[in-house]
Amino acid sequence: MTRPEEPHPSDARLLAGIARGEEEPFRILFKRWAPRLGRFLQGTTGSRETAEDLLQEAFLRILKAAPAFEPRGKAGSWMYRICANLAYSHWRRVRRARQAARDETGVCCDLLGSAGSDPQERHAGSSFAAHVEAALGRLPENQRMVFLLKVDQGLTYEEVARVLACPVGTTKSRFHHAVRKLRTDLKVWDERPDVSRRSPDVL
């Protein structure tokens, strides 16, 4: 049980409380992780609505699997992994739907939710950030996943490797490829004076 005198209980302790069916640990965990995981899911799927659905599904899985969570592991990596798996499943569904639409109509359908394709989701105007987001949506899925975990969520190469269950070298190489692709995609902005030049301290 979460002790009242503990102001910042660890994720593992909260999961243990959830496993016992307690509400308060769940409230704390949700408050702590929902914004982070939601942003990650929106980055991977490119849609706020899809991110909402996947986030709810992720927390349902967390609730159900909490009794099986091993306190030796890192709870954050575990939750990111659940979200990453949901994102991969979402991409598979989108691909299947796209293929089915193509088979039926013979036309390539791009309106089925590829990342960054929803006009409502895009930033207004043609800011540099909007172009970065669009370029991010054009990255291969596994590179986009690594890039978001690294840059947006601030994980280390090792943590990303743990989340995605792949070697650290693979993670590093995917990240380098992603950055180089983005860089090539956004080269036209190099000479523009209006691009913000703040340092990437978010990393």
Binding site: G21, P35, A129, G154, K187, R198, V202
Partner: protein
């Protein structure tokens, strides 16, 4: 080192993954190479734009819906964790859990013992029926079982081949014990009722 190789280090440094020594070497290179310095500025701009913190607030009622689900799951969770509100729920006594395990172990032992017994009985029957099998089994090494069984390879006649086949079959049977196949049944019937086959 080429500028292409340095670009990997630029990315690692901006991702805060470059060791101290490599970072110093990179700084020296950037001071001497305007191309790489420009590359670093451009990459840092991309990373800063991609990593700009976006406020993300979960939708209305998501937390409440999940809490409802937690309430629905609670009995299952409690059963899985073995506790409720911090108190351990008593589990069934050890003895009652060990009964099925003991029964399974007893059954396994009986099956094993029965198999050995049946195997030895069957071998005895076979010795009565076929004197080439049984007592000679131990004299045949596994290596010999790969010999050609038709007798062509060792220059012997067809009779030798039949004897070798019987010996090999006897050896295989002795290794496997009583297999319980229809062939075993035929052996036993031949022993008891030779006229019936």
């Amino acid at each position: 080192m080429s500028c292409e190789a340095w670009s990997g280090r630029i990315i690692d440094r901006l991702a805060d993954e470059l060791g101290e020594e490599d970072a110093i070497a990179l700084e020296q290179h950037l001071a001497d190479c305007p191309g790489c310095a420009a590359e670093e500025t451009a990459v840092s701009r991309v990373l800063a734009a991609a990593g700009s913190p976006m406020e993300w607030v979960p939708g209305n009622r998501m937390e409440e819906r999940l809490l409802d689900e937690l309430g629905r799951l609670r009995p299952i969770q409690v059963a899985a964790s073995g506790t409720f509100l911090g108190r351990r729920i008593p589990r069934p006594m050890k003895g009652s859990r060990s009964v099925p395990a003991f029964a399974a172990a007893t059954l396994a032992f009986l099956a094993l013992a029965g198999g050995f017994w049946a195997g030895s009985v069957e071998r005895s029957f076979r010795e009565m029926v076929d004197p080439t099998a049984g007592p000679h089994d131990a004299e045949i090494s596994p290596k010999e079982t790969v010999r050609p069984l038709d007798g062509d390879g060792d220059g012997g006649g067809g009779g030798d081949g039949d004897v070798a086949l019987a010996r090999v079959q006897g050896w295989i049977t002795s290794v496997r014990g009583f297999s319980g196949t229809p062939a075993d049944g035929v052996y036993i019937c031949r022993a008891f009722f030779p006229d019936s086959l």
